[in-house]
């Protein structure tokens, strides 16, 4: 392509852009097509959250649709009386360790699947996918027996291990897709320059995996954070339960404390919302990249 053609092409693009912009402003259909559906969808999504905040912040017995006067009594109830202070700490410990283990092991497993051709590789991938169809409840008793024989019942380690194991199949598959997207020739070039394979991976490939690491890490954290079943079944100590167990305390056999339930929901949702807010940029890119390359 000659320089002249390139200049002409740029000129066309720019002029096309300048032609489109005023047209957008004048398009009355845009409001109908874009903003109204988006606004409705946003309202549909946010109304339940609004109600959660209303219940959490208004006094018990109030039926006002606006939380006024604001009270923090429900937060005090869940934090002090129900024991969220301890449950929150436990959830953070389990979530963070599970995130770290899942990410580290998924990088190693994903690298092997992406870079090595070995017998049974495809079968292994299929088996990994198949594990996604096994519900956690089915594995409860076998895992319980294993943890009991290892002395890990009533320990947060049992939750970290179980959650990591259940996070790994999808994480390895995703990570393998990310690593495949980085050309092997780049690693080879590093090795030609004197790097070992590990150093080449750490110096050249790993920095390019940032969206993948964030996608896998956030999936692992959120899945672990929300896991109720394992948290209740592998632990029988009051000070070792996690947030989802604490949340279910607010609904009793014959009564329900909606204020505490909503306040507990806010506390439980806050870290997940924060994680999404920070990583959503990488997450969307990460999911799509992992989905199409493998």
């Amino acid at each position: 392509m000659s320089a002249d053609v390139m200049v002409r092409t740029r000129t066309r693009t720019v002029s096309a852009g300048t032609r489109r912009r005023p047209a957008k402003r004048k398009d009355p259909g845009r409001v109908l097509r874009l903003y109204i559906p988006l606004g409705l969808y946003l309202a549909f999504t946010l109304v339940p959250f609004y109600w959660m905040l209303v219940f959490a912040l208004r006094p018990a017995g109030s039926t006002d649709p606006v939380p006024w006067p604001i009270t923090f009594e429900h937060f005090e109830t869940v934090w002090n009386d129900i024991g969220y202070a301890v449950f929150f700490k436990n959830s953070v410990i389990v979530g963070v360790w599970s995130l770290l283990f899942t990410t580290v092991i998924a990088v190693m497993g994903g690298y092997a699947l992406a870079r090595y051709r070995f017998r049974g590789r495809n079968l292994f991938m299929v088996v990994l996918l198949c594990t996604q169809f096994i519900p956690g409840a089915m594995m409860l008793i076998p895992l319980f027996s294993i943890f009991k024989s290892l002395g890990l019942i009533n320990s947060l380690a049992s939750l970290i291990i179980a959650d990591t194991v259940f996070n790994l199949p999808l994480s390895i598959i995703l990570m393998s897709g990310f690593i495949s997207a980085v050309p092997f020739t780049v690693e080879e070039a590093a090795m030609v320059d004197g790097c070992t394979r590990l150093r080449g991976f750490l110096a050249i490939v790993l920095p390019q995996l940032r969206p993948g690491l964030i996608a896998v890490g956030s999936f692992a954290f959120i899945h672990t954070w929300n896991n109720f079943l394992f948290a209740l079944m592998f632990v029988s100590k009051q000070d070792s339960f996690t947030i989802p167990v604490g949340l279910s305390y607010t609904i009793g056999e014959y009564s329900a404390d909606f204020g505490a339930l909503a306040a507990g929901g806010v506390v439980a949702a806050l870290p997940v919302v924060c994680v999404f807010a920070v990583v959503q940029r990488y997450l969307v890119h990460g999911i799509s990249a992992g989905a199409v390359k493998g």
Binding site: L140, S155, L156, S240, S248, S255, A256, D257, F258
Partner: protein, 429 residues
């Protein structure tokens, strides 16, 4: 170098993770016996048990009780997993609704011998003891009763001045108190837990005294029960909110809390929620209206109590704890806090209970010789699934007019009859 760093980091992670928890037996070496107690409705009752445990430990310094609150929604699954894994507690909160399931797995220790020698012998309500014994095939006492409940209709005193005595009066009141567009005379439980409530209402209306006739056939589809269900389903959308079709108890209680509903059928357990929403003076309760000839029939609620598990290594301490929990003072304290009927007969006469109108009514109703108590077949292993997953969606169809009351009750009756026959065959009955 980086390989070493990565390896060291993983090792640190592994060591740190395994050190995250702490195992039980913290009192080893101090000469104390530690027993574990699982509360089958952890959460709102936790502070009550914490207080009782404090009192127990003060009276028994050599025993330490470790409290674990299990959410009510998952308690059966938790027990099943613990039994399968051989890691049961020493003492557990258990109700008759899943007692048969636990005894079927040989998980519990019978309490008969212990009770015969205990200081609470003769102090526990006979009706509750009988109800527990009827739940299991061998007729033993695997659960020491702590409390029971009773179905009542809660109402707002400013809307309904006189509680109805008969079902005809009840249907009349539901209609009169409905003021469109958004005030309703009644709310129907159409979602989770609907079947138990409709059973209680039907038997109260028909006055039938047994769930099965002599041949083992269910009485659920008796013409009087069908007649009642037709009337009750007729209230839906006419005198109740349309959303009732998915009402579970939290939604029903929340609706009642808005003040737009005049009457609501639930049990004594939701008293504190109503007081919180409306204030003590505005709330009233009446037992389900009388049936034919003015006779009152009530369907027995599950009995809630304590069981000692077979795997316990400290059975003596476990029984001691159970004895403490059902003693006069503890049982009175527990039931005063929860607003339920004490199992200890001395506690039933305490002044706090006489001061609570709804509880006094309930105790009087239960102790009235004219009251007929119908015991649901909690002993059937399928009773829970039949009255929940199998038939709750069908009841919603009845409300929506997609199934007739007769078809619904025939289906329910057939399932119960089959389960009864199977149970009799299995137990040689």
């Amino acid at each position: 170098m980086k390989l070493k760093v990565a390896g060291a980091a993983l090792a640190v992670l592994a060591v740190a993770a395994t050190g995250c928890g702490s195992d039980s037996g913290s009192d080893q070496g101090s000469g104390k016996t530690t027993i574990t107690f699982w509360d089958n409705n952890g959460g709102t009752r936790t502070p009550i048990y914490q207080e009782l445990i404090k009192r127990f430990e003060a009276a028994n310094p050599s025993i330490h009780v470790e409290y674990v609150g299990i959410p009510i929604s998952s308690v059966q699954q938790k027990y099943d997993t613990a039994i399968a894994g051989g890691d049961t507690p020493d003492v557990g909160g258990v109700t008759t609704s899943y007692l048969a399931n636990l005894t079927g797995q040989q998980a519990l220790e019978p309490a008969d011998e212990w009770l015969a020698k205990s200081s609470v012998n003769g102090k526990l309500a006979t009706s509750m003891l009988d109800s527990v014994r009827k739940t299991v095939p061998d007729g033993k006492l695997y659960l020491v009763p702590n409390t029971s409940n009773m179905d009542v209709v809660w109402y707002l005193k400013d809307k309904l001045q006189k509680a109805p005595d008969t079902w005809d009066e009840f249907f009349g009141s539901a209609d009169e108190l409905t003021k469109k567009p958004d005030e309703y005379g009644y709310t129907i439980r159409g979602g989770a837990g609907s079947i138990f409530q409709i059973l209680a209402e039907m038997y109260s209306y028909s006055g039938i005294s047994e769930f099965f006739d002599a041949s083992g056939k269910s009485t659920v589809n008796d013409p009087k029960n069908v007649e009642f269900l037709t009337k009750m389903a007729g209230l839906y959308k006419k005198n109740t909110p349309e959303a009732d079709v998915t009402n579970d108890f939290p939604k029903m209680v929340a609706q009642f809390g808005t003040g737009k509903i005049a009457m609501m059928h639930h049990n004594l357990g939701s008293y504190n929620d109503h007081v919180k929403a409306h204030g003590k003076d505005k709330i009233g309760a009446f037992a389900l209206p009388t049936g034919p000839g003015g006779k009152r029939t009530i369907v027995a609620n599950p009995v809630d109590g304590f069981a000692v598990f077979k795997n316990s290594e400290h059975k003596e301490a476990a029984w001691k704890f159970v004895e403490f929990l059902v003693s006069h003072d503890s049982n009175s304290y527990w039931n005063e806090q929860t607003g339920q009927i004490p199992a200890n007969t001395d506690a039933q006469g305490d002044s706090w209970l006489q001061g609570l109108e709804h509880l006094k009514t309930a105790v009087e109703t239960l102790n009235d010789p004219n009251t007929q108590v119908v015991s649901p077949p909690y002993y059937l292993p399928q009773f829970s699934s039949i009255t929940k997953a199998d038939t709750e969606p069908l009841f919603q169809k009845v409300l929506l007019g997609q199934m007739t009351p007769q078809e619904f009750l025939d289906t329910l009756a057939q399932k119960l009859t089959d389960a009864e026959a199977e149970w009799k065959k299995a137990t040689g009955g």
